[in-house]
């Protein structure tokens, strides 16, 4: 409400005025008028409004409007304009569909547009009558005197009795054209006012729920006090005019007789006043009650479900934990704002690099070494192979040679090459062990090659492990010697990779793969220890 002295500031602050100044007002008004009516008077699916935008755009372009953008672009602008006021907000419904909601200011603009050209002088009589009833009743209530209030009700009763008796004597006086015109204007105006007010209720309920949730999460008060406060707020809302409207509509919705009576009355009124109503008014009048009652029921259900949700929050045994988590998140968001405003952050501020959350790094990431599968029979006699010396890159004459060496190594350790070597050995030994394969194909790339065999055994080709089955490989790397105690899987012709791994692990004195891994000298030429004397430490028995 505005007093005369502040008209200017009211206009400056008015979202409605900013919306009405928009260049595409005829376009958006037409879209809103078609989209937000009947069952979709409160919200509409994104896909439906996009279809309406496309349709309206085509019609207006035919009439000479220039509307070059896609419907998606217009919708985005009306939700989040680069400057000025937005018409819509959004939410995801229960099926994760994006719903478009008309903002209250947008609805008031459309209501104003709907009433353009309608003479409101005829409404003054009905308005005067409503005002008279309202002020008389309010004055009687405010006086606090029961006698005054009863006297007012008696007067109303006498008035109704007089009208009943007059109707009995003379019958109902038929409405003339002038009265029908007034009825049509009032119908149109009341529908507009009703829809305007009603459409804001779901948003208010959701806002209240959000506010309550903020309260629950941010308050330090004891649980019982927080719960009482929420109950008080809910009770307060149930006493409000909005909730009473919803309840009244819900009652109509659930009573078939009530619904029929209302709908029949509207039909009679619309038929009688048809020539004074626009096509749009007729449609709005006919769909009003079915749509309102249906939406009211939905909103009441939503309200009830929000209430249940709060009760569940309090009853949840994990409430304290969740409360702590929600508060921590809120604290982090507040700190993020403080950092934005006072941290003096530059675009490449080095402080940002390690400021964030700490996330776990797995002890067994999915790389080659950790895909190792441990093996079975203990072949404790050392198997010694000469291997190619570790390449000394300084001796390489050029980078081409280096690349060639790396490509050759890559090919040699590639999955297909490893499997073909295993298959080749299987032609001579039906179920070769890794030890047999290495005997046939001495390793050229030391520990990496052994690891590649184990990776293939663990994930790519049938293999079987037996508890305690290990062998020692002595790797000659140039002038250095490395002993590797290595799992020794069998490679049968059929089966799955890594069979029996669990039993193999259980056989060791280690309680985890990680611990076992740490005790196998995968570190390459840096590690060195003698062979057989340590075998008993690694396995419990054989």
């Amino acid at each position: 409400m505005t007093d005369q002295a502040s008209y200017a500031s009211a206009i400056e602050a008015s979202a409605e005025m900013r919306l009405m100044r928009q260049q595409n007002l005829p376009f958006v008004a037409e879209v809103v008028g078609r989209a937000f009516c009947g069952a979709t008077m409160v919200e509409i699916e994104e896909v439906s409004i996009l279809r309406i935008i496309g349709l309206v755009r085509s019609e207006l372009v035919e009439r000479g409007y220039e509307l070059p953008q896609d419907p998606e672009k217009y919708l985005t602008d009306w939700i989040k304009p680069s400057s000025g006021e937005g018409w819509f907000t959004t939410r995801l419904d229960d099926f994760n569909e994006r719903m478009i909601i008309l903002k209250p200011a947008g609805r008031r603009v459309i209501s104003f547009v709907e009433m353009l050209g309608v003479s409101t002088s005829s409404l003054s009589e009905s308005a005067l009558s409503s005002l008279g009833g309202f002020v008389t009743e309010s004055a009687a209530r405010i006086s606090g005197s029961s006698d005054d209030y009863i006297a007012m009700l008696e007067r109303q009763k006498r008035d109704i009795d007089d009208r009943i008796s007059a109707t009995r004597d003379r019958g109902v006086q038929e409405a003339d054209e002038g009265e029908k015109k007034d009825m049509a204007a009032r119908l149109s105006s009341e529908i507009s006012a009703m829809v305007n007010g009603f459409a804001q209720i779901p948003g208010e309920i959701r806002a209240m729920a959000q506010e309550n949730e903020e309260f629950i999460q941010s308050s330090d008060a004891p649980l019982v006090e927080r719960f009482s406060e929420i109950l008080d707020r809910r009770q307060g809302y149930r006493q409000s005019a909005q909730y009473k409207t919803l309840e009244a509509l819900h009652e109509i919705h659930v009573s078939a007789a009530e619904k029929d009576r209302f709908q029949s009355a509207i039909e009679v009124l619309v038929e009688a006043c048809r020539e004074h109503l626009s096509k749009e008014d007729v449609r709005r009048a006919r769909t009003l009650f079915p749509a309102l009652t249906r939406i009211a029921t939905k909103v009441i259900e939503e309200h009830a479900s929000l209430s249940r949700r709060f009760e569940e929050i309090f009853r949840d045994p994990d409430f304290a934990k969740r409360h702590a988590e929600a508060r921590a998140l809120k604290g982090a968001r507040d700190a993020m704002i403080a950092l934005r405003d006072h941290g003096g952050l530059g675009r490449r501020d080095p402080r940002l690099a390690e400021l964030g959350l700490r996330v776990p790094v797995f002890p067994m990431p999915g790389n080659l070494v950790n895909d190792l599968r441990f093996s079975k029979p203990a072949l404790l006699a050392p198997v010694v192979y000469e291997t190619a010396p570790f390449p000394d890159f300084e001796d390489f004459e050029g980078s081409m040679d280096m690349t060639l060496g790396q490509v050759g190594k890559g090919q040699f350790l590639e999955k297909g090459a490893i499997i073909s070597r295993i298959e080749e050995v299987r032609k001579h030994i039906p179920e070769p062990t890794l030890c047999d394969v290495i005997a046939a194909y001495p390793p050229s790339y030391g520990t990496e090659e052994l690891a590649a065999y184990l990776w293939v055994a663990g994930s790519e080709t049938p293999s079987r492990y037996r508890p305690g089955s290990l062998f020692d490989a002595v790797i000659q790397a140039g002038d250095r010697e490395v002993v590797i105690r290595c799992p020794n899987p069998v490679f049968p012709a059929s089966g799955t990779p890594g069979e029996g791994l669990e039993d193999f692990l259980a056989f060791t004195r280690f309680s985890s793969m990680n611990e076992l891994l740490e005790n196998i000298p995968w570190g390459g030429p840096r590690a060195h220890f003698s062979t057989t004397s340590e075998a008993g430490d690694l396995v419990d028995a054989e």
Partner: protein
């Protein structure tokens, strides 16, 4: 020594694949529930604990809190127990994105079990709020950066923190159960503490007094 051999697939799932999902491996998840005690014993020795989210059907292993480890070491009479899982620090903007998604997961848990997927545009808008205004002058750059962060999280091979889906040409994002379980309230408070420390340093560097509100938040964290 007690055998844990039959737990191997569970151990592999917990430590190598980031967790066990009832959706992907229902039998394995059932086994986690039935072998709960033994798995906890096994993880205990590694300084870790089992966390099971029965509603979403997800189980992970995570480090026990330092104070719990200290207490455990004292009970056992050993010097100290270090968890085998290390943690790596994320960058600030990565964490800002995760806080948004973790907040959505938190709302989801307090909802009626409905998954809350956030539209990419909305998530970008929520994240932009935390960028200083001068950085937002290059808005396209900021949007690109946020999208890159999301894509990188979602494409992790092991335990991705974020997942995405597209519907009617729109992209939606949601935190994974791993994000929900692995990033705890303590982790978030640590992050908050580091941010506030930077803010306080900035005030001190400018020779200005630290606002009461920030000092109060820092004191509350210390308490």
């Amino acid at each position: 020594m007690a055998s844990f051999a039959d737990l191997n697939p569970i151990v592999e799932g917990l430590l190598s694949k980031g967790g066990i999902s009832a959706l992907r491996s229902p039998d394995l998840f059932d086994k986690v529930l039935s072998e709960d005690r033994r798995i906890r014993d096994w993880l205990d020795a590694l300084g870790m604990e089992l966390v099971v989210e029965k509603v979403n059907g997800y189980a992970i292993a995570r480090n026990r809190r330092p104070e719990d480890l200290e207490a455990q070491a004292e009970d056992l009479g050993v010097g100290r127990i270090d968890p085998v899982v290390s943690r790596r620090p994320l960058k600030h903007w990565q964490s800002v994105v995760l806080v948004q998604l973790k907040t959505a997961l938190d709302r989801e848990k307090r909802g009626e079990g409905r998954e809350e997927w956030t539209l990419e545009e909305d998530l970008v808008d929520q994240t932009k709020v935390y960028f200083p205004p001068e950085q937002l002058e290059d808005e396209a750059g900021v949007v690109k950066q946020v999208r890159q962060i999301l894509e990188a999280f979602a494409s992790a091979n092991v335990a991705p923190l974020v997942m995405k889906r597209t519907q009617v040409g729109k992209t939606f994002w949601r935190g994974t159960p791993w994000l929900d379980l692995a990033v705890t309230a303590d982790d978030i408070r640590d992050y908050q503490r580091r941010m506030l420390a930077v803010v306080m340093e900035s005030f001190e560097a400018r020779g200005e007094e630290v606002p009461e509100q920030i000092q109060h938040a820092m004191d509350a964290l210390a308490a």
